[in-house]
């Protein structure tokens, strides 16, 4: 399993990271999508500690009335953290688009919803002169379990090096309500969807396999010998390999002697 973390130390590092990044941009305000789930709750709590609750805006963006419980949990969380919150129903814009595309399956619809939420977040980022905080965790990033240019889009990501099981540890330390910590993780793209149902494995098993692969640099054979079913290992390996494009910027065809994306190399945090 991924190592047990000292959540107080992790909180300190991530709060500092958020503060540093915002200070570099000369930006005091942050915003993020609040789904009513664990990851966005943890990210909101970190942002509230780093920037002050008044400087954080949580956008609650349900699709109609599909998930009333999640909306309630998100509103309650915002109140508890004392951050600002706005609710925007994305159903009208999504339904309008798909009205003339009845053949679209739920995968297409789900991705569209994630990208509508992204577009709304970025519009609000301009309105607020704020930065969008990403909420993808390490497990999702490694599996590619996210919509590229959708929920994966952000200015900074404080949580991308924490496995899902570690996010749970941090959530307990940050005082995230049990109602949020205990619900089954879901992308919330259609009723009844759960992450573990989608992927086909429990997060404990996924994280153990990923940690052996990534930090442990283990081979397929070694991970199977450690006690994992070969089907589970193969499933994880396949997902990691096939989603590399989601973890890198698109390649630029190189022509000149010095090219963006190849050998024009500057730090992201260059003083602005």
């Amino acid at each position: 399993m991924p190592p047990k973390i000292n959540p107080a130390f992790v909180e300190k590092v991530l709060v500092r990271f958020i503060r540093d990044e915002f200070a570099r941009c000369g930006c005091g305000r942050g915003l993020l999508g609040l789904s009513g789930g664990l990851d966005s709750a943890v990210c909101a709590a970190l942002a509230a500690r780093a920037l002050g609750p008044d400087a954080v805006l949580g956008l609650i963006m349900p699709y109609g009335r599909a998930f009333p419980g999640d909306v309630r949990d998100a509103v309650a969380l915002a109140r508890r953290l004392d951050i600002r919150a706005e609710t925007i129903d994305i159903a009208p814009q999504v339904d309008l688009y798909f009205a003339s595309r009845p053949e679209a399956d739920r995968g297409r619809r789900g991705n569209k919803m994630a990208r509508e939420r992204m577009a709304i977040l970025y519009d609000h980022s301009a309105r607020e002169a704020g930065l969008v905080l990403g909420t993808s965790n390490k497990t999702e990033l490694l599996l590619g379990y996210g919509t590229i240019y959708g929920d994966m889009a952000c200015a900074i990501n404080p949580m991308g090096d924490l496995y899902k099981t570690q996010v749970r540890e941090l959530a307990a330390h940050l005082g995230i309500p049990a109602a949020i910590r205990r619900k089954a993780p879901t992308a919330g793209l259609w009723p009844g969807q759960t992450d573990e149902g989608d992927i086909g494995l429990a997060y404990e098993e996924i994280d153990d396999i990923l940690c052996r692969l990534v930090e442990g640099r283990g081979s397929r054979r070694e991970i199977i010998e450690a006690g994992h079913a070969s089907a589970a290992v193969d499933l994880v390996l396949r997902r990691v390999r096939s989603s590399q494009f989601k973890r890198a910027l698109p390649p630029i065809a190189k022509l000149s002697t010095r090219s963006v994306g190849h050998d024009f190399l500057y730090p992201y945090d260059r003083e602005r």
Binding site: I5, V13, R16, D20, L265
Partner: protein
């Protein structure tokens, strides 16, 4: 003598702002009667420079900003990290540290071991230093190392063989690995080496790491001073900026070398002959 380890978070790529930060801390340290102020690796420029390295490179003998800093060391010593591009070596950029004392540059060390793997890409942007040379300073004979130099334990040995009683390592070590401890797991690696070198080289080890974060990487802080004999004198905060002040007693080196006779019994010529044979054999 009192020393101050300045665990700062420099502004990436902004030499002017960082000179200001250095001058502020020099004054603060002066008020605390420090005789030596040690800043971290690349303290004038920040660490994750990539192609910015060529924009922030300077000639320490001529650069007016650097000369301003040197001029403000009247009555004390300071170690400062910067990107060096000297007229004698045009076009070559070095990750360098200067020991400055009483308004004069005493010594410049160019980092020999440039980590280039995983998150590190120094050899893509910097030329390699080729020498470890101890020098005489107000704190006694001193050896200077930059970050990774210290983890290759032959580097400290060379300074020890040259008689250094103070080994100073300036560092920009990122924190890696979180477990249930109250700092990054890699912090232990530096202390382990500090403790061992200070014990077996019967020398002071002054380790100045930086704080802050760049491009998502958090520097682990945790600067420390070990006295000869492996005694931890002081340790700075993890991750956060800090100014670590403690005493450095040059007489402690002599005392330790009377109690533990490693230095008296050392045989650098035996090491040298063996190394020569090994190097020759590897070239065949």
């Amino acid at each position: 003598m009192k020393i101050a380890v300045a665990q700062i978070a420099p502004k990436l790529g902004d030499v002017e702002a960082n000179v200001g930060l250095h001058l502020d801390i020099l004054e603060k340290a002066r008020k605390q009667r420090a005789g030596l102020v040690v800043f971290p690796e690349l303290s004038l420029t920040g660490y994750t420079l990539k192609d910015l390295a060529e924009e922030v490179a300077l000639d320490p003998a001529a650069d007016p900003r650097f000369r301003r800093l040197v001029a403000r060391t009247k009555g004390l010593s300071a170690v400062v990290g910067f990107v060096e591009e000297s007229p004698s070596d045009p076009g070559l950029l070095y990750n360098a540290a200067a020991f400055i004392a009483d308004g004069r540059i005493v010594h410049i060390h160019r980092k020999v071991f440039l980590p280039t793997a995983g998150i590190f890409e120094e050899a893509k942007f910097f030329a390699q230093g080729r020498d470890f040379r101890a020098f005489d300073a107000p704190c006694g004979r001193t050896g200077l190392l930059v970050c990774r130099d210290f983890l290759q334990f032959g580097s400290s040995y060379v300074h020890y063989a040259a008689g250094a009683g103070v080994i100073i390592c300036v560092s920009a070590a990122p924190g890696r690995g979180v477990g249930d401890g109250d700092t990054f797991e890699t912090a232990r690696m530096w202390e382990l080496m500090g403790e061992a070198v200070s014990f077996f080289a019967t020398a002071y080890v002054v380790y100045a790491n930086r704080a802050g974060s760049e491009d998502g990487v958090t520097f682990a802080g945790g600067s420390f001073v070990y006295a000869p004999g492996g005694r931890l004198v002081a340790r700075a905060a993890a991750v956060d900026p800090d100014l670590l002040c403690c005493a450095l007693d040059p007489a402690a080196v002599a005392r330790a070398r009377k109690a533990w006779l490693f230095k008296r019994d050392e045989k650098p010529e035996a090491v040298w002959r063996s190394l020569e044979r090994i190097v020759r054999a590897s070239e065949d």
